[in-house]
């Protein structure tokens, strides 16, 4: 369980009297104590400000700054290395994707301690790449792996074990991995809803990772894959503004959990996401407003939402808006692009049967990837060349490569078509709108479809911003200005203060109760505030650790 904010009731530094004082003002956790303004705490606890400040200091002393020098982390290691140093050492470890050229494009391979996003259309190859990574992480270090295992969370489909096996068999780098080992090291779980994802990331997954570490059985988890996040955030025409606000909160909650997992356990986290049609507006700023610091969303978002290395690549953009884009360290886009080439000898990983006759389906047994695209018109022996663009990354410069999908997985072509953006161009292109196939406004509740004609007034906000960013704005700009859009009053101070007073006064909490609470807290590792036991939580979201029978599913890949 990832630590919730320490509860004051069990905090060793506070006296009983101090805890009681703070409890009166409903200050129950360290978080409450440091985030609530001191004046407000003083008012709620009915004491002078000068009594509160030392308590805040006390709490802060209990969590001193735990910095480590690079010498501590990377210098010769001692037995004395504490947990924090060890954790920091686990981040930034690189492992191969199974393809050298791709590794170089990503800055040396996939790195742990980061959140990577792979966006693309449904048949672009996202899942292919994810499956390949699930294998690659298992490789021994001598071959560029981390000797780790993978947790693969799926939102709408089961894990494609057949395809996994096919890649493992066809790609020479995986030939040493026995298939028994392989499946033991890919753990999968269905995530049907946002609430289940939050539960898994906060409780089930950390427990799983730690148990494996403690027991020492099996390889430690080093890779987490979520396939696909965008599917949990589908919107309909009935989506209300309140829902959008809530969804923008969900994104930030999920992302905080992901980053905590990444740094706590040294995981590489790969999130698959969808694309939507890009809405090309007529109004692109030709120059920044010299008096105003804001950047026009519609104009600038295309630089982090879309790829521009080939004509047409920018017809699609990543979904979930700025609110999600801010959360990822690297964004990789996969596109089909419709280019075809006759490839004589494909530099595919060892698969000589690369005569692509899509009718015989030898390219890939997975129907998703090859169904429409590979089938050229009339017995075409050409291969679909796809494009992979690193739109942004904190560890590598933006870059693009061409790739194909083979039985052995993803294979990058060494002679990729150069990016059209590699030539110097002026900052802002002249407004030449590409006719959008369909407008994203289809997804929004109150939008009307937009004709592509020149306008002098800006289009309605609903078409300028991604839906989740609308949720973000609504949350922050609404006059009631709290997270009160959830429907309940999140500020009980003003309304319910008297009732709370009465409640606390009548409820005598004794020292013994504190002690017994503490016992529960440490044994389960579950936050005291949660009501119900963890199993009922799991049952509620349909995961039921004991409940699932072992023979569900035909393959013996292990399940969480």
């Amino acid at each position: 369980m990832l630590d919730p904010s320490p509860v004051l009731a069990t905090h060793p530094a506070f006296t009983y009297a101090q805890k009681a004082l703070l409890r009166k003002g409903r200050i129950l956790t360290v978080s409450d104590l440091v985030l609530t303004p001191a004046e407000e705490i003083a008012r709620r606890c009915r004491v002078a400000l000068s009594e509160i400040q030392p308590l805040v200091e006390l709490a802060c002393r209990g969590q001193p700054i735990q910095a480590r020098t690079l010498e501590d982390i990377f210098g010769p290691s001692d037995d004395e290395d504490d947990q924090i140093t060890r954790q920091l050492r686990l981040t930034g470890e690189k492992f191969t994707t199974g393809d050298e050229i791709l590794d170089a494009a990503l800055g040396g391979g996939l790195q742990t301690g980061m959140v990577w996003e792979i966006v693309g259309e449904s048949s672009a190859g996202k899942t292919q790449l994810a499956l390949q990574l699930s294998l690659a992480v298992q490789l021994p270090r001598s071959q560029g792996g981390l000797e780790g295992s993978t947790c693969y969370l799926t939102t709408s489909r089961q894990l494609e074990t057949q395809r996994l096996k096919e890649i493992a068999t066809a790609h020479p780098i995986f030939s040493e991995l026995s298939s028994g080992q392989l499946f033991d090291n890919v753990h999968t779980l269905r995530v049907p809803a946002i609430s289940s994802l939050e539960n898994i990331l906060s409780t089930i997954l950390p427990n799983f990772v730690e148990t494996r570490l403690k027991d020492g059985k099996g390889e430690p988890v080093r890779l987490l894959i979520i396939d696909a996040l965008g599917e949990l955030f589908h919107l309909t025409n009935q989506t209300t503004t309140n829902t959008l606000v809530e969804r923008s909160h969900n994104i930030t909650t999920i992302s905080t959990l992901l980053h905590e997992l990444a740094s706590r356990y040294g995981l590489a986290i790969v999130v698959l996401n969808e694309v939507v049609d890009a809405f090309h507006t007529d109004i692109y700023e030709t120059e920044e407003d010299d008096h105003f610091e804001g950047l026009l969303y519609a104009s600038h978002s295309r630089w982090f939402n879309r790829a521009h290395s080939l004509p047409g690549e920018d017809r699609k953009e990543a979904s979930l808006g700025l609110v999600w884009a801010n959360q990822v360290n690297t964004r990789i886009m996969l596109s089909r692009t419709g280019r075809r080439r006759y490839l004589d000898s494909l530099p595919a990983p060892g698969d000589k049967r690369q005569r692509i006759n899509s009718a015989s389906g030898s390219l890939s047994s997975s129907s998703n990837t090859t169904s429409q695209g590979e089938r050229g018109d009339e017995n075409d022996n050409s291969t679909l060349i796809r494009r992979l663009t690193v739109i942004f990354s904190s560890v590598a410069p933006p870059t693009s490569v061409d790739y194909i999908v083979t039985t052995g997985g993803i294979s990058v072509l060494p002679d990729s078509e150069p990016s059209i953006s590699s030539t110097l161009i002026p900052a802002y292109s002249t407004p030449a709108p590409a006719p959008a196939a369909s407008s994203i406004s289809n997804q929004l509740p109150s939008a009307s479809s937009h004709a592509a004609h020149a306008q002098t007034t800006p289009p309605p906000p609903s078409t300028q911003l991604a839906p989740l960013d609308i949720g973000f704005v609504e949350d922050n700009e609404s006059p009631f200005n709290s997270s009160g859009s959830k429907g309940f009053d999140s500020d009980p101070t003003t309304l319910y203060e008297d009732e709370w007073e009465k409640y606390w006064e009548m409820d005598e909490i004794t020292e013994e109760m504190y002690l017994s609470v503490a016992a529960t807290d440490s044994s389960d590792g579950v936050s005291v505030g949660v009501d119900g036991d963890p199993r009922s939580e799991a049952g509620r979201v349909g995961i039921g650790i004991e409940g699932r029978s072992a023979d569900e599913g035909t393959d013996h890949h292990s399940q969480l």
Binding site: V34, L35, P37, E40, V56, E57, R61, P64, I65, A67, R68, T69, L70, E71, I73, F74, G75, E80, L88, T91, G92, M114, V115, S248, H249, T256, A262, S263, E288, D290, H291, E293, G294, L295, L296, A298, H300, S301, W303, F304, S309, G321, L322, N326, N329, I391, S394, V395, P398, S421, S422, I425, A427, P461, D469, V473, N476, E477, N481, S482
Partner: protein, 366 residues
């Protein structure tokens, strides 16, 4: 002092073992030390000789890592424990560190990034704050790392605070040309707002024990705030104000140079410049630094915005600098006095090209 057991403190088990072996069981046993430096430096009143091993910051006899000494020291300075034998206030800096911080005079530090240097008129002034904001993918950290490099090359220490896993220790390590510089760079990470506020609360004590830290990088400082959506806006403002006071003190008392990076968030802005909402007619969706300059002391802060387009070229804009005043505008002699009126503040721009790990200036647009 107190009879609080050392085992109740958040210290690594190895440290506890060493302390116990050496006969230190409670906080009271350590009362003779007035600062972590003493714990590791060795002017002790206790019989055990301690000395600082220069390269590693370890105590030879006690073998406590410097970081653990700091935790111990913070705990011993607990103000709520009365009867502390030490009369020294926790805020006392050693004379040496005061002298050394004043010695670092009003330097201008080259950022190793020429477009930034030109916008800042030469470089970043010591004892000042540079905020770098930008959309996802913009080279904010690149600029921050360049500044770090300047300090490291000068042998000064840096504290890197990462609020979003944007930069892990391995990537900082790659910056270093000389492994001996590793001890100059400290790294700490956090993700949540309580952790960030506790961090700021503890900086004075921490820096008292690390007097050679001359640069603090606050990476993705917006992240904990943006993700704390249950917190009321008014509470966030109070926290931002607290941070502003803290940063100001760091600059003035310790001559600390600070670089912060922040992401942008979405706002709807009406034609008159004020913020609107979903239903406002004519509102344009904009991306802006989420708290503006709310956490930055105005007399000490530079705000830079960096954007990238087409992957390789981009624009740097100096949004504000300490010279900006809130005088009402006259007639806007922009060219002559570009920075005088904040209401009519002209933002100064510089185009750049993303080269190999650095920014190269293109034609200047003023």
């Amino acid at each position: 002092m107190s009879t609080r057991a050392l085992s109740s403190l958040p210290l690594p088990p190895s440290t506890l073992a060493v302390l116990k072996e050496s006969g230190y069981e409670t906080l009271g046993d350590l009362k003779c030390y007035q600062s972590p430096d003493q714990l590791t430096d060795g002017k002790p009143l206790a019989p055990i000789l301690l000395s600082l091993d220069d390269d590693k910051g370890y105590t030879k006899a006690l073998k406590i890592p410097l970081s653990a000494s700091q935790s111990l020291f913070s705990a011993t300075q607990d103000p709520s424990r009365t009867g502390a034998s030490s009369s020294a206030s926790p805020l006392t800096q050693s004379l040496a560190s005061i002298v050394s911080s004043r010695k670092r005079s009003l330097d201008v530090i080259a950022t190793q990034c020429s477009p930034v240097d030109s916008l800042l008129n030469g470089g970043l002034r010591r004892g000042h704050i540079l905020e770098i904001s930008g959309p996802p993918g913009s080279p904010k950290e690149l600029i921050a790392k360049g500044i770090m490099n300047s300090f490291i090359m000068a042998g000064e220490e840096v504290l890197f605070v990462d609020c979003q896993n944007a930069t892990n220790p391995a990537s900082l390590d790659e910056l270093l040309k000389n492994p001996r510089h590793r001890r100059l760079v400290s790294y700490v990470e956090m993700h949540t707002l309580p952790e960030l506020m506790i961090f700021f609360n503890n900086t004075t004590n921490y820096l008292a024990s690390r007097p050679n830290i001359a640069l603090i990088v606050l990476n993705s400082i917006s992240f904990p705030f943006l993700n704390a959506f249950t917190l009321k806006k008014s509470a966030k403002s109070v926290l931002l104000e607290q941070i502003k006071q803290k940063l100001l003190k760091l600059c003035t008392n310790r001559n600390m140079t600070i670089v912060s990076t922040t992401q942008l968030s979405t706002k709807l802005i009406k034609p008159d410049g004020s913020s609107g909402s979903f239903d406002t007619e004519g509102a344009r969706g904009m991306m802006m630094a989420p708290f503006g300059a709310a956490y930055l002391p105005p007399g000490r802060s530079y705000r830079l915005q960096v954007t990238l387009d087409m992957g390789r070229s981009g624009t740097l804009r100096l949004l504000s600098s300490p010279n900006t005043r809130t005088k009402p505008s006259g007639d806007g002699n922009r060219k002559d006095q570009p920075r005088q009126m904040v209401n009519q503040n002209v933002i100064i721009k510089q185009r750049f090209l993303l080269g190999n790990g650095n920014l190269i200036s293109l034609n200047e647009v003023a």
